[in-house]
């Protein structure tokens, strides 16, 4: 951490970065946004925006379970519950009885309602509202360590699974004919998503976490012509929105996560207009 602090002091001699919490937040943004940019591309490809949304919502029940069990850091109960609900959604989806968005909708709203019911007992919901909008400035050195490990793991996994996942997303039988275990990769992808969404929620907030996943990829999609451009633009847009959103939220005194999302939205608008003009 000391290395990071002195590096920032050296490279960025600005007023806003003097505080330790801003240095931490900046590192957090630099770790989280590239992952969001990367995963987002596949989420948009697979039309899974709604799924990432429901993962965010289900975190509320994860927090509630943590409270009931008296766990100090609800991260573990949140992780446990989001992995559980991911498996539940995938299993029910395979039974093929209703359309996927209906199934996700059912699980998502149930989980959210359950979380609200438990947390609002005795009228105490307000103290959990921090999870709704998130607080990036509260990120601690320990959080950053966790984030660093997750960053490395996700990138490593992503390198291994991406090509197979892409084929499976285009046509399951085609992937199967090339010896790909479609189900395994589908589960792996959903798990990666569950973990990254859950870990980021305390800093970004339940309400906007999925927009942060979707917007950079959706913007990039407007202008990219192949997969490499798609990923490069997406990661760049995520990074730029993240850093500039952090700085602006410092000067405006606004919630960081939401500010970042707004800037990504501007990127989407600009790329969308570019696409329309270029045809």
């Amino acid at each position: 951490m000391h290395l990071w602090y002195s590096l920032v002091d050296l490279l960025l001699p600005f007023g806003w970065i003097q505080h330790a919490f801003m240095k931490n937040a900046l590192l957090g943004v630099l770790l989280v946004t590239p992952i969001f940019g990367l995963l987002g591309t596949m989420i948009v490809n697979n039309r899974m925006a709604f799924f990432s949304d429901s993962l965010g919502h289900s975190a509320l029940t994860g927090i509630a379970i943590g409270v009931i069990l008296g766990i100090e850091n609800p991260l573990w109960s949140m992780l446990f519950f989001s992995v559980l609900i991911t498996i539940a959604i995938l299993v029910v989806k395979e039974a093929n009885t209703a359309s996927t968005d209906t199934i996700i909708g059912v699980f998502s709203s149930t989980a959210m309602a359950l979380g609200i019911v438990i947390l609002s007992r005795n009228g105490g919901f307000t103290k959990y509202s921090v999870y709704l909008i998130g607080d990036l400035l509260s990120i601690s050195s320990f959080d950053l360590m966790t984030l660093g490990i997750v960053f490395v793991l996700v990138i490593a996994l992503w390198i291994v699974v991406f090509n197979k996942l892409l084929l499976a997303s285009m046509n399951q039988s085609l992937a199967r004919s090339r010896g790909i275990n479609v189900r395994l990769y589908e589960y792996l992808f959903a798990m990666i998503m569950a973990v990254i969404v859950t870990i980021s929620i305390q800093w970004v907030g339940i309400l906007i976490i999925s927009s942060l996943l979707i917007l950079p990829a959706a913007s990039s999609r407007n202008i990219a012509k192949n997969m490499r451009q798609y990923h490069v633009y997406s990661v760049l847009i995520a990074l730029i929105s993240g850093v500039s959103g952090l700085i602006l939220s410092y000067f405006w005194g606004t919630a960081t996560g939401a500010t970042i999302v707004l800037i990504s939205a501007v990127f989407f608008a600009v790329t969308f207009i570019t696409k329309l003009r270029l045809g």
Binding site: I159, N163, L166, L167, M170, N226, R228, H231
Partner: protein
């Protein structure tokens, strides 16, 4: 046409017999598929020699696509799938190429033809980099189906016929023992479809592969297929040469009398013409 390929009308007596023609072959013995307690396919037997084009026809919902998916191993099935080489040895699982009806992607997807091939061929994630040789290999593959000019195009920007040629090229790299084709119901114009059948026909002559084709175009089946299997009521109700199958009662009932009459008349003309020459 090789007479060995002709199956007796409407029976499945071939099961258990070895290849007799000195060519490699694929044997499907006693296939059955059940899902959720409902029997989708039962007692399916097919015997396909290398260089054979076997067309699967039948009414909608009869289980044609299910049969392909069962052969692919995507859905579980009972019965046996065997691949025997020329010496009648080796019951290894055949390698398969599959041409799907369509891809699940919207037209704005930034996936190029090269991306699709690279994702199938390489382990390095395609958003990172391609190995140098990939582009050359992809160009060669695409050349097999006259599609090399499409290499940098987005998949969503291709016409139905172009996409089908690209997918065929992908299925042929590497050359499989068994090529499975699920012909799209719509989206391809008649000329594109004919070009596709011609390409498949040429491939079959140049490479030693068996082809199973789920088809909706009876005219083209009549022209290009060596064997036809009529799937109805959850099984192959009738199999044999196009002439045999298209003169079968049940087939005529399913596809309409007019079509069959026209086919048989045309066929007679064709034979007469051949005799005159």
């Amino acid at each position: 046409m090789n007479l060995n390929m002709i199956q007796p009308k409407c029976n499945h007596s071939r099961q258990g017999t070895a290849c007799t023609c000195g060519l490699c072959c694929t044997k499907i013995t006693n296939f059955g598929v059940s899902r959720g307690g409902t029997e989708i396919l039962r007692n399916v037997n097919l015997h396909i020699h290398c260089g054979d084009l076997t067309a699967i026809i039948g009414p909608n919902g009869a289980g044609k696509s299910t049969l392909l998916k069962a052969i692919l191993g995507e859905i579980s099935h009972t019965g046996e799938l065997q691949f025997l080489d020329a010496k009648n040895e080796g019951t290894t699982k055949p390698s398969m190429g599959y041409v799907p009806q369509k891809l699940d992607l919207d037209s704005s997807s930034p996936t190029s033809v090269l991306d699709l091939f690279a994702a199938a061929h390489t382990k390095i994630p395609i958003w990172f980099t391609y190995p140098k040789k990939t582009r050359e290999r992809v160009r060669e593959s695409l050349a097999r189906t006259q599609a090399e000019h499409l290499i940098n195009k987005r998949l969503g920007a291709l016409s139905g016929g172009e996409l089908q040629r690209v997918l065929l090229a992908l299925a042929l790299d590497p050359i499989p023992h068994l090529l499975l084709l699920d012909e799209p119901v719509s989206g391809i114009d008649q000329r594109g479809l004919e070009l596709f059948y011609k390409t498949v026909s040429i491939l079959r002559e140049n490479y030693d592969l068996s082809i199973i084709l789920v088809s909706h175009d009876l005219n083209l089946v009549a022209e290009y297929a060596d064997q036809v299997a009529f799937v109805n009521n959850n099984t192959i109700e009738c199999g044999g040469t196009p002439q045999e199958v298209f003169s079968n009662e049940k087939v005529i009932q399913t596809f309409g009398l007019d079509w069959s009459k026209r086919y048989l008349r045309d066929e007679k003309d064709r034979v007469d013409n051949a005799l005159m020459v």
